[in-house]
Subunit: 393 residues, 2 copies
């Protein structure tokens, strides 16, 4: 394998290092679970720390729906990785000890082959003709990358939300390739309520006027028209936050300072400004998401999330888990109503029924599904993850 | 006043009577809380039962976001009223005893003046230029209608969801015009989560291509293009159901019977069929809503719901409620996460602090916010409402 960039010496005063660079691995292609062949295949990834001489200290990070390969450090654009608080020298996942890998998922739009990539059959981007993929396909592509890096067995796979379901899929699919897995705020199958929210988000995209899309294989943002993706993202954000967090953070505070009594109106062209702070927050989340994400990736990935169902795929969870060899850690959050603790316990109980090595922690944090990403949750997560990783031999 | 149609003799075998007819009352207009004048003003309403010689047996029904004046019996199109299970001869609100009135709300699109009505200043429908209205404006228009019918004091006002907030507004605004009020699954102010869902729904509408709209003063459906309103409605429906109901009713059952493994695809033109039953259910709800509702009414009414805040309007709830004279009954449902019991208790405690006559019942039903409308909830609701109304003298 190529040597990876170890750039700790560029650390800033907060211990972040950089500039980290996204790397790319190219493959002929992959046979999808549907039987279709998808190729060529490019995988965007970043690495941090140094691979040990025995190649036995690698940790694979699995991102959530809207994540990307840039999980730690600062990249050339000055952007901080999405889980930088957890990953770095002396952090929860200590890059002085571990060689950390994170790749953009299959079907994504931030460097790995997905709807914005060129379809070789047409010379144009796949767009919405991108084949239907599964969580298993995403994990198979991650396994390709790991093998490409020369690694036979990972010390750990870890992820939250969709990343957590992938960690679970890893444990089921590649029992000999991982020593441990950390499954955070995840589920073995999405609830109908979760399916419903994703369905509505996709329909917001479909109800949008069709828009042209241009190549974006290297992850560059490309032109968007219509606001369906922003609406989908806003729906998502409501489900990521707890009601208590919304009440504490926004309440009914006004964002428009010039609103006076009833003089506020819906505006000239029938659009409205965000009168309440919670509206303004969502508007910001939706708008910035439009800048960095692809609506067809959103469709393809949410569909894979909806379809993920280890119970249905294997008959029941105990059957699904029977070959697992990894030490498992399952984490949930009290205030997460999208992937609630009950879903994590379903996983834990099936593992216990098989006498697998499983630990479970429910964390009492008020931030909803987003708890695994917010800074206030990092000290606890750091302590738990560090302790668990140290215990894996 | 005109004599109303008493048509009990047309009752069907289920005790529904009909055909009930929507009536209309015309007014010069009304001064809105914003200070703007809105006129002319037409109010669509239906009545059931007979007004007593003393005019003292009237009950006013207040509908929710998507409701209309047709609350009971069967109309000429064969449609059954939306709360027919509660209202009729010998039912919870017994039309042998009470004279029942229900009107379409101001800003609506089913007969009462709203965005689809002709703006006399332009000769065209108001559309999204309809003035911003408040819950208070809606109640003021209802009071106009009640006075128009010659009634000085109502025996009761009752409603669920938005109708419940109107019942509360009635008690505050017209203390001498009502003897009692029943406030079901309602709140004195919407939560930021509720505001957020409404905001996203309106944004789904705004992200739609602009569409022409034609006159619809009499409540006829008019041509729609774009699916933003359907998306908004689907978001709403998720919030009206409990997660338990979704799990029991839909689970992860498939709606598309021809889906075989991974052969399902996103379809020719990038749209998808509802693969899961919950998706198919939402699709149906969204599509049928497009047939009968106006997107600009949806905007105007949800904005009034968002802005309703008795605490902010009066400083605090105790101050808001100080002049209430009505006997109050407040109902909530254990599984309602949109307008949860805590919101009802906030109302109850403020009334108790003033030593007002208030009863409170939390009903243990699994159907979420929709519990006040579903047939399984009717026996309990019938018993409680009948008992309360009998006790009001």
């Amino acid at each position: 394998m190529e040597s990876t960039e170890f750039i700790k010496e560029y650390a800033d005063s907060d211990g972040r290092y950089g500039p980290v660079k996204t790397q790319f691995a190219d493959f002929d292609g992959i046979e999808l679970e549907s039987g279709a062949f998808l190729g060529p295949l490019r995988v965007a990834y970043e690495t941090y720390g140094t691979l040990s001489p025995k190649y036995d200290n690698a940790v694979l990070i699995l991102h959530a729906l809207s994540g990307d390969a840039h999980v730690a450090g600062i990249n050339e654009k000055g952007r901080i990785g999405w889980w930088d608080a957890l990953i770095g020298p002396e952090k929860g996942i200590d890059t002085d000890k571990y060689f950390v890998i994170c790749s953009n998922c299959l079907g994504g739009c931030i460097g790995t082959t997905g709807p914005p990539s060129i379809n070789p059959a047409t010379g144009k981007p796949y767009g919405r003709s991108f084949p239907l993929i599964t969580m298993g396909d995403m994990v198979n592509v991650q396994a390709l990358l790991v093998k490409h890096l020369g690694i036979d067995r990972l010390h750990n796979v870890i992820g939250g939300s969709m990343g957590g379901t992938q960690a679970l899929e890893w444990a089921v699919r590649y029992p000999d390739m991982i020593r441990s897995a950390i499954v955070i705020a995840a589920t073995a199958r999405l609830s109908p309520q979760g399916i419903a929210f994703n369905w509505v988000g996709r329909n917001a995209i479909y109800s949008d006027p069709a828009r042209p899309c241009t190549e974006s294989d290297q992850g560059d943002a490309y032109q968007k028209v219509g606001r369906g993706l922003a609406v989908a993202r806003m729906i998502g954000h409501i489900t990521y936050l707890s009601e208590d967090t919304m009440e504490a953070k926004f309440g009914r505070k006004r964002a428009l300072k010039d609103v006076d009594g009833y003089r506020y109106s819906l505006g000239e062209n029938g659009k409205e400004g965000g009168e309440f702070e919670v509206e303004s927050y969502l508007e910001h989340q939706g708008s910035t998401f439009m800048e960095r994400f692809d609506e067809d990736s959103y469709v393809v990935i949410t569909k894979a999330i909806d379809r993920f169902d280890l119970e249905a795929a294997h008959g029941d969870l105990v059957t699904a888990f029977r070959n697992i060899k990894a030490k498992m850690l399952v984490l949930s959050y009290t205030s997460d109503w999208l992937y609630p603790t009950s879903m994590s316990l379903t996983i834990v109980r099936a593992l216990q029924a098989l006498n697998k090595h499983v630990s479970f922690v429910e964390l009492d944090l008020p931030y909803g599904h987003d708890s695994f990403l917010v800074s206030a949750g990092m000290p606890t997560l750091t302590r738990i993850v560090r302790g668990f990783l140290n215990g894996v031999v």
